[in-house]
């Protein structure tokens, strides 16, 4: 199915998932305007959100099934497999977040149904980012996502930590947006367009890129590096992840990161494909992020903070996929980000079961003896930890393996070696979690009696564990999907049709 952007019908069709989700967001806003007092209202809002995410996923699936694609001409909205797969990642992350939120919000007395509205708006922003074939669209998506998440981070108004997180995130995020916008302006100044393919075409004609374009590129990279929490732009991440309510942290660590990466892939490959300057920058960024993230995580005693730093380390692995370039790198990114979303959400889900009052005080050693009392929770967390470690039999390994293939086939053997060596370091902080759960005795009798998940939290955790093990043993379908999606980003658009 070819979507011709010059006809209104096709234009709307290519925006179908976003439109569906926007419609639901408005419905939900209306709903919470009237019903926002009781626990039951909160529940209904949650269910409506799940319905919204599901129908959006179906709309996306319908477009994917019909092979919707742009006719190879310059558009502001991309319609390719990369976008659909990325959308599924965001929708899945949001849906799992909703599942672990039900009980969490009630337990922490956060009776604000707007939570779900913000979650939908955040997801919508991510989808716009992944769809953007134009810097302006990407920026719009980024802002939509960021503003929603700033508010989500500060949701727990009674706790200073949450307010601190929101304020930090907002101030630094606003700075980063400024960098990004300035980068877009400079790129526009250098090429006269904000469209990714047109910038790419201009860059190819220029031969040696102008200083202005390079400066624009540098600022863009800074902006994105902030959003993905790459070292040295990661300083905000631990405090913000630590202070936010745990489901929000899970959403930030997975969805927000995936969205920023998706946009980064498009920008670097489509707009700055011919500009070689970013190769080295990203190489160093990847190395520093892998080493830094892993070393910082090694020193953490708090589980939530450890997961925050580990998400920095995983941003480093994903940056290796960026550095590998080519379609293989993009496919590897998709596989890895799917695995990462699952395992990270799983870990945070168990954390919500263990913790009280924001979970920031759950030390790794507090899990001691969990396996004796809550064997399934412990098993799920162990699978997530092994997957984060990249152990064979889990999806995390398949993702890491794909990134390694992409890196070595691009000749980046050193980067591959650094990746595996830093993975060894990561064993130093993932294993203690398993060790505490299985090999240490409970500090007091029945220390974990109150560590439970409700039915929906357990559902989310089951989905995570089954997904991790299934993709770890039988990844064929996932790989095929990722392969076709990865090629979408690298298919050259025929820029001749619309001269700048």
């Amino acid at each position: 199915m070819r979507l011709d952007p010059s006809s209104y019908g096709d234009l709307l069709l290519s925006l179908l998932p976003e439109l569906v989700l926007t419609g639901w967001a408005l419905v939900l806003l209306l709903f919470v305007a009237w019903r926002h007092r009781t626990v039951r209202d909160l529940r209904i809002a949650g269910w409506l959100t799940l319905l919204a995410l599901l129908s959006t996923a179906i709309a996306t699936w319908w477009l994917w099934w019909n092979r919707a694609g742009s006719p190879g001409i310059v558009t502001m909205i991309a319609a390719d497999d990369f976008r659909w797969v990325a959308d599924w990642v965001f929708l899945g992350a949001a849906a799992l977040t909703v599942l672990i939120s039900f009980r969490y919000l009630e337990r922490e007395q956060l009776l604000v149904p707007e939570y779900y509205v913000l979650l939908i708006f955040g997801t919508l922003g991510m989808m716009v980012m992944a769809a953007g074939a134009d810097l302006m669209v990407i920026f719009l998506g980024l802002e939509l996502m960021s503003v929603a998440v700033y508010v989500l981070a500060g949701l727990d108004r009674r706790r200073a930590r949450s307010a601190e997180a929101a304020l930090k995130y907002f101030l630094l995020g606003a700075f980063a947006s400024g960098f990004l916008l300035y980068g877009i302006a400079l790129a526009y100044g250098a090429t006269g367009t904000t469209n990714l393919s047109l910038i790419g075409a201009q860059g190819a004609i220029m031969g040696r890129p102008s200083v202005m374009l390079l400066a624009g590129l540098a600022l863009l990279i800074v902006g994105f590096a902030f959003k993905i929490a790459a070292v040295p732009f990661h300083m905000w991440a631990p405090d913000v992840y630590d202070g936010s309510p745990t489901p929000v942290t899970a959403f930030m660590a997975t969805g927000v990161k995936a969205a920023a990466f998706a946009a980064l892939f498009r920008v670097l490959n489509q707009a700055f494909g011919p500009v070689a300057a970013w190769h080295d920058i990203l190489w160093w960024l990847a190395v520093v992020t892998m080493i830094g993230g892993n070393l910082f995580a090694l020193g953490q005693r708090s589980l939530k903070r450890m997961l925050a730093y580990s998400s920095v380390a995983h941003a480093g692995y994903l940056l290796v996929a960026v550095t590998a370039r080519g379609a293989a790198g993009t496919s590897a990114f998709l596989v890895y980000v799917i695995a990462y979303t699952l395992m990270s959400l799983g870990a945070f889900a168990v954390l919500t079961a263990k913790g009280r009052g924001g979970e920031s005080d759950v030390m790794i050693d507090d899990l001691a003896g969990l396996a004796g009392e809550r064997p399934w929770l412990a098993f799920a967390l162990a699978v997530c930890m092994l997957s984060l470690l990249g152990f064979p039999g889990t999806a995390g390994f398949i993702g890491k393996w794909y990134i390694l293939i992409a890196a070595t086939s691009a000749g980046q053997n050193t980067l591959a070696a650094i990746l595996v060596l830093t993975s060894v370091v990561s064993a130093g902080y993932y294993l203690p979690v398993i060790m505490a759960m299985y090999m240490k005795p409970q500090p007091v009798e029945h220390a974990h009696v109150d560590v439970t998940l409700d039915r929906w939290g357990r559902t989310a955790l089951t989905v995570v564990v089954v997904g991790l093990l299934l993709f770890g043993v039988w990844p064929n379908r996932l790989l095929d999907l990722a392969r076709s999606a990865g090629e979408g980003v690298h298919a050259p658009a025929r820029t001749a049709a619309y001269p700048p």
Binding site: P392, W401, L404, N413, V420, L421, S423, A427, M435, N476
Partner: protein, 502 residues
Amino acid sequence: MYARWVLTALLAWPLLAGLVVLLLPARVAKYAALAASLVEFAISVPLWWTFAPAGGMQFVADHTWIASWGIHYTVGIDGISLFLVLLTTFLMPLSILGSWSYITKRETGFYALLLVLTTGMIGVFVALDLFLFYVMWELMLIPMYFIIGVWGGDNRLYAAIKFFIYTFLGSLLMLVAILVLYLHAGRATGVYSFGYAHLLSQVKDLGPTAWWLFGAFFLAFAIKVPIFPLHTWLPDAHVEAPTAGSVILAGVLLKMGTYGFLRFALPFFPAVALNQSVQLVIVILSLIGIIYGGLVAMVQPDLKKLIAYSSVAHLGFVMLGIWALTLQSVQGALLIMINHGISTGALFFLAGMIYERRHSRLIEAYGGIARVVPLFAAILTIVSLSSIALPGTNGFVGEFLVLLGSFRTYPIATALATTGVIVAAAYLLTALQRVIYKPLKNPENEKLTDLTPRELAVLIPLLVCILWVGIYPKPFLQRMEPAARALIEQMRPPAAVTAGKP
């Protein structure tokens, strides 16, 4: 029919049985596990007869697994891996029987993990696809990590994580090397596959990259063997692990390293492996392992630690034999790999049995117990003698063949290695004397009970093997010979094989 399914059955059965055991109540877990491991052994026994020595890779099964990366499920065995598979299936029921009264907490988990571990170990020995090999190599790490960490001694957490991280470090670099090989072969032929034969046919023109790749493989296997400076995880892991864990660590897991050299590191990179300086380094490290391992064993107050260091020494002989690359030395190395599994396994069983009675592993805690537990003393003596390599026991055949074969390649090194045999006699006989002879001073030892029928059932099969290999090793050597010869011919032009000098 048997030939096509046997290896897959050997891999699938323990995994399945392990999951079932996990669901059973604790009091029947060990019976179920024992039955499962006996079935496993029964499946594997006909391999001994149906194996055709000159047949190359046999019992091959090949199915596509992950098509887009050219990953196959390919398994098969030859004369090198046959005995390691049999050794594994042979030691498993004994280990389960040996843990009968030793493991008292969380029994279901323990026996389930032992069974899963079996899958991983057999998988390493039969995998003919490097991806599958890597997966299996890592897979056996988790059960062992838990066995040490949950059921181990006082210092178990430290030992478990050290064991894990050492192995993990080596194997991840090997992973990158496998990938580089895969891409190299893929670019040269257009066929992207992790198949062993496919990769092996494309390693000739690697150039200087071969050095890096060899280094990565070497590190992974050397940690596992372990070769001298990388051996420090071994005493910790052996000492802290429960009896079954120590037996399997020594009996099977260490062999994975030497197996890796024989199967991958040597045939893939012959030019690097036979480089003069590389040979020199490896021979020196093996010698250090033999002599240093023996000397350190001599001063150990802890019985299990002594056995652990004796493993370092034994594996040094294996490395020497492999690198000497003559028919006798390679056969001898293979035989030591089996012997070490049997003898050291038996020693760890015995150490575990006496520990269960007295809750002390210290040698000085005993003395003169031959009078109290004569059966125990007799068996310990036989097993120690076999570990020292006394003629008539299995140890002698292996070490003699290695020394004989290596002498032609490395005369000086072999002469030095011979002193290792003397050192072995020194530390084992001294320990033996201090444990079972000398006057009985400690009154606690007077109440010791002798071996129970269950413990005899564990030890007697091992004793039978010790004497069988010691007196009539021909069936073993016969089945190994073609594979050993093929390896040597692969490494060196045929003319050099008879001459014996590189």
